[in-house]
Symmetry: C2
Amino acid sequence: MTKPHPDTVTANGRDYCWPDRPLVVICLDGCEPDYITQAVIAGVAPTLARFCEQGSSLNAECAMPSFTNPNNLSIVTGVPPSVHGICGNYFLDPERGEEVMMNEPHYLRCDTLLARFAEAGGAVAVITAKDKLRTLLGKGLQGICFSAERANELTLAGNGITGVLDRVNLPLPSVYSQALSEFVFAAGEVILREHRPDILYLSTTDYIQHKHAPGTAQANAFYAMLDPYLASFEELGAHIAITADHGMNAKTDAAGQAQIIYLQDWFDRHLGSALARVILPITDPYIAHHGSLGSFATVYLPTGTDANAIATELARLTGIESVLTRPKAALELELPADRIGDLVVIAERLQVLGTTASRHDLSGLDAPLRSHGGRSEQIVPLLFSHPLVALDAGKRWRNFDIFDLALNHRRPA
Amino acid sequence: MTKPHPDTVTANGRDYCWPDRPLVVICLDGCEPDYITQAVIAGVAPTLARFCEQGSSLNAECAMPSFTNPNNLSIVTGVPPSVHGICGNYFLDPERGEEVMMNEPHYLRCDTLLARFAEAGGAVAVITAKDKLRTLLGKGLQGICFSAERANELTLAGNGITGVLDRVNLPLPSVYSQALSEFVFAAGEVILREHRPDILYLSTTDYIQHKHAPGTAQANAFYAMLDPYLASFEELGAHIAITADHGMNAKTDAAGQAQIIYLQDWFDRHLGSALARVILPITDPYIAHHGSLGSFATVYLPTGTDANAIATELARLTGIESVLTRPKAALELELPADRIGDLVVIAERLQVLGTTASRHDLSGLDAPLRSHGGRSEQIVPLLFSHPLVALDAGKRWRNFDIFDLALNHRRPA
């Protein structure tokens, strides 16, 4: 007996057909396309190999900055940060005048399509690796929503479910582990089997991808871990759609030394100490992955500074790919103008941006730095278990087209 | 007994101190910095690990286009293609009106520093993997100059040496093999031991790098093969300096499908059949590596075409990173204006450019396409066995600074 439901659901101006079977959408954190290619070549991911051969595969652009929160929110809203407002993990809140994590749901400026499907009578479940994403993704959602990190603290009121840890045959994972992502898949399997949601959104952590290059034994082991879960989702009758929040590149020289431009130090020398304020939106309480070093920064300039002149000067530095003033950045990168600084700075592919040398603790990095945030990490996979139809050839796909593609371009049954 | 020699040698406006011991400069074809980093992490390259720790390491920009011939010639002349004239493996010769390989020495517009050192009394030896580079690198050179590919055909008049194959304990290698590069190192070891040149230039082939990602078993095996030769060069008293002609990136989606824009097809649709002429400077008789697919193309437009208008239109295509008109390309990319078309087209990191679908034979590709040619493959390693001194911090290093760095910035004995 199926419940009545509308044919389509609308969210943020986009229409989505109702799923004809459970749809599992997976955001594989930091999944540069080559991670999948290499795991398939290595023969450790037969289900992914089957998707590559029998389903559909596209390259797509993620939202800028190529960080976790902006992209997870783009994926579940179908729109860029200029609309949903989440333009970093961390920002300078203009109302409070202080730097804060952008994890609170009130920062999200639109509804999620997940909440809209649930409103329309759909069963929706969301499982994240870290808890920091859970409250944003779950905004307004009547459904199941929890993180692997806090799977031992679930309440019916807060998470729409309890007792997950007992049903998943895995211990509560460490936040710095591949096991955190594995728990997401294992819990997803339990939820899919026992609750059969119309939409299941799974979001992992890039702990492995920050440390290990595509095709290395450790990276392949991550995809080998994932693969049987995908097979299981299929056996349970689901369609599966996979994308990433961002890619990943080495940020080092041949010797494995991180290539860092300390922007706050540069501005302190050029404009005077602590007059400009450099914000790194990658900043996160979990710094062992990347030492808060990414390829994107935004800068608040002291009143009266000529933003264009300083942008031109900064853009000349070796390793800087581009410097955009606020209006240009808002337009070209689809960012909310009121939540970025006077300048947006993007580093080259093998380069990252820091604040001051003294503020970055790199002692937690036990492998040569790999990170993201720039244009060079913008291409991510779109991989579907089932073939898509009626695609517009040559279109610039975005990772936040994934629900549109999976629901509106599936082959008619 | 040392022969008298000048303190410095000048080539193309740059001065080079005379080597105080044999200097081995190695151009590792397609050596994205991460290949070295990953081989060191994997523990298969102890000599490279020692260079990383005790020598000097920098990231540098190669010359554009990021192809083999332009960069090998930049390295041995110390200047960009705008000066030396070699801007591709292949081009439209304006004098002959036909597309030809750019391998003939008369295309080279300046002297090499190798020839200048030899003129000043230095003993110079050059060993390349493929023969196509030999004649260009050996232009005007009184010294040893041969390729692994034709090591069985040496003449004293043509190569300055004979009998190499008898002295190298390896069979004549196949042109499609890692063995072709290994032969370069093995022959280099013989030459260094028996002839003790002041300068030994070794240039490999990217057969492995076109097929295998950094950190994979096969890529690591290449660097493991190289490593004992480096140790041997050091034991023989040489300083070693390593760079690359270009980096390397996957040019595929997650499914390993090559991401190709067929430019000639696009121009044929937009301007009429065969009116524009798309040239791919990666073109090479050895196509099994890459099917002549790279991330750089140049286009000759029919007379009367508005180059700016068509550039703007082309730049909108998904996967195109930039389109420059001839004067802008010549200036910004340091290219010889008379040897490029009306437009220069650069593709994005995971994207390549073709002519027409029918003209590319991809049947030789037995692994997902990896290639180069674009801005995204411009960063290459500069790795020295010995520590450098008096470096200008923040300078934009080029791979063709390698002789300057090795000879003029060595620590005084």
